[in-house]
Amino acid sequence: MRTFLRHALLALLASVWLLPILWLVLTSFGVDEGPNITRFFPEEYTLSHYAELLRPDSISSFPTWFVNTLIVAVFTCVISTAFVLMTAYAMSFLRFRFRRGLMNMAVILNLFPGFLGMIAVYFILREAGLTNSLTGLIIVYSAGASVDYLIAKGFFDTVSPSLREAAWVEGANEWVVFTRIILPLSKPIVVYTVISSFLYPWMDFVYASLIMSSGVASDKTVALGLFSLVDKVNRNRYFARFCAGGVVVSVPISVLFIIMQRFYVEGITTGAVKG
């Protein structure tokens, strides 16, 4: 009985979480161009909004937005993941003179609103001619990523240090220990870091709006572009196209999630020297 109630609760919660997504999908296939305010299910279904999405006009230029964001996300993902994991590993396993100082420094930096420093970064990038460029955006997203190392460090703290000692006996150097022993054992946190840093450029709106401020449709990322489709002026003509774009963006990301989730569960349950 309790098990049944638990499953009922889960089903209820899952439907709360899935209903908005269902509405997104339904609207993207519905005939209305603007948001449908009277009925949840559209009267008729069509694929035309997806076709329109692939045909750029002066306001909507989805294929370019997608490619822009993908490029930025791939580079950001690689650089940020490396930075975060390296920093977390150093802070968790290694003992050195400025460790405590650097950790406090990271906390202090995180206490400042990130946007404050970004204003200055924007002016600097403008002087260097890197505003409205993907390079500038990649720099903004990834260069400072390592201050968010704490979650990864928390995980590394649960990995037994005896593994490293065992590896030293075998004659491995620190780099080999890091890449061949600790990282494979830490798949969940590696996956978490990869997911979150890859998603960042897709999710971010504020830094993109600061760096890519030209207003030209082809300079936008997906977030900026889709936002422009639902502003006051465009909403009634482009809302369904916005939904179609949202679906198109979410599909590859969801697939990625499900692949990564498999790693995620397997990663830790397979045996390792713990505790």
């Binding site: 997504i21 948001p35 949840f40 995180n110 404050l116 260069a143 709106f205 569960v265």
Partner: protein, 455 residues
């Protein structure tokens, strides 16, 4: 006497060697036959010194922030009006700060090289050290450099701007900035003269703190409970449930939040449905909504704040579930099983093992989550931008609204009003308000004794 006393000569030689090591990088390495390393060190020193020389003029202009205003002058050669060789106050700030950083770096490196007593090592030995006892340097060089370049130096520049008059009336490069000491800060406390900033600041701050605490705790508790619910042994189709919630996370926030804002718009589908079911009229009768006809989900101060917190749960719980699942799966099975064999009930296992373990691992993330939420831009911005309009004249005069966090206020000040000096002041105050609380909590959580507790 033509020769120095041997002991004195030894001291003199040691001093000379120290001087040579610290000021003439690479000389020692070359004397010991390590040519490549010597040249590398030498070029490093040359690069550092030329950086200092290049930024030095800006450093000298820091006290005045420049004296030559920008103007167009007639160039007889090209027969055109061209910009003169003006001072750019912002670049003076930037290069001045960079120059100071380079000088500090140079002095520190010189002192450290001077102190070293062992003979210079070869590149091969250095490489071995970088993969052994000095591995932290290998790991941290690039991450720390990145942080210094895009966070530390820009932040230093922005902090300095809080003490200048950088606003809409003084824009770089057409105007020169000047130092105005603390008068920007005084605007925030100056209630007597009816200043809008003094009116808006405590209100925005209060909502920011309420939001940060409520949003962080609700997502943390909700996500952890959800993870435990899904991970119970008797729960079936675990991957399916997880996928359901992760699907919500997979939709980028700007899509889901912009969607939400249309769902809950004054003329939106939720309002239509609720009105059809009679909920809206009922709410109006009991006085929960100010106007008949629609529920002001995102347009009334109280409702908007509540909705923002509720929608944030939708966004935040799947993330926390993902993190908590990872930690829960990582709890040593032996611990919980041993406790069960010893006769501990499910509740006791949770209280004595699961909870402390969870808090130990995710405690730091709870604190950093709170700071992240204080600086959380997306949720508020995407839900209320262009929709929520304040009716409070004084808030509007300061460029703020009732649903603004300090950080969205900061954004408005820079993007809508070009008021960089006040934005910078607010940024500094965000820092000041949370740093005291956070640092105490942080040092308590990461004390080394505790780090070792679960090993």
């Amino acid at each position: 006497m033509s020769r120095l006393h041997p002991a004195k000569e030894g001291a003199f030689l040691a001093f000379w060697r120290m001087l040579r090591r610290s000021l003439l990088w690479g000389a020692d390495s070359i004397l010991h036959g390590h040519w490549i390393k010597g040249l590398l060190l030498f070029s490093a020193q040359a690069a550092l010194l030329s950086g200092i020389i290049l930024t030095f003029p800006s450093l000298m202009k820091l006290p005045s922030l420049g004296t030559v205003p920008a103007e167009r002058i007639w160039d007889p050669i090209t027969r055109r009006n061209v910009w003169n060789d003006y001072d750019n106050s912002f670049l003076i700030l930037l290069f001045g700060v960079t120059g100071i950083a380079l000088i500090i770096l140079f002095v520190v490196l010189c002192l450290r090289r001077g102190k070293a007593s062992r003979p210079p090592s070869s590149l091969r030995e250095d490489a071995a050290r970088l993969l052994g006892p000095d591995f932290h340097k290998t790991m941290l060089l690039l991450p720390v450099t990145g942080v210094v370049l895009v966070m530390v130096i820009p932040l230093a520049v922005m902090i300095l701007i809080a003490f200048t008059n950088y606003d809409r009336a003084h824009l770089v490069p057409t105007n020169l900035l000047s130092w105005i000491s603390l008068s920007n800060f005084k605007q925030l406390t100056d209630l007597a003269s009816g200043g809008a900033f003094a009116y808006a600041f405590p209100r925005v701050l209060g909502w920011t703190l309420t939001w940060a605490v409520t949003a962080t705790l609700s997502c943390y508790i909700g996500g952890t409970l959800l993870a435990m619910l899904i991970n119970r042994r008797s729960t079936r189709w675990k991957p399916f449930w997880r996928t359901c919630f992760m699907a919500a996370m997979a939709v980028p926030q700007f899509v889901s939040l912009l969607l939400m804002r249309n769902l809950f718009a004054d003329v939106g589908i939720v309002n239509t449905l609720l009105k059809g079911w009679g909920v809206t009229d009922w709410l109006y009768r009991i006085g929960a909504i100010p106007t008949a006809g629609h529920i002001p989900f995102l347009t009334h101060p109280g409702w908007a704040r509540g909705m923002i917190l509720a929608i944030n749960l939708w966004v935040g719980i799947p993330w926390q579930m993902l993190v908590a699942t990872g930690v829960l799966l990582n709890i040593p099975r032996e611990l919980t099983e041993a406790a069960r064999i010893d006769g501990a009930g499910a509740l006791q296992v949770f209280r004595r093992i699961t909870l402390p373990y969870l808090l130990h691992i995710t405690g730091p993330s709870l604190i950093s989550g709170m700071v992240t939420n204080i600086n959380n831009f997306n949720v508020i911005w995407l839900l209320t931008r262009d929709i929520y309009v304040t009716t409070d004249q004084q808030m509007a005069a300061a460029g703020a609204t009732e649903v603004d966090l300090l950080v969205t206020w900061l954004y408005r000040l820079t993007q809508d009003q070009s008021n960089y000096k006040m934005a910078s002041v607010i940024g500094i105050l965000v820092f000041a308000v949370c740093s005291a609380i956070t640092l105490t909590a942080f040092t308590r959580l990461t004390r080394d004794g505790k780090e070792a507790a679960f090993r």
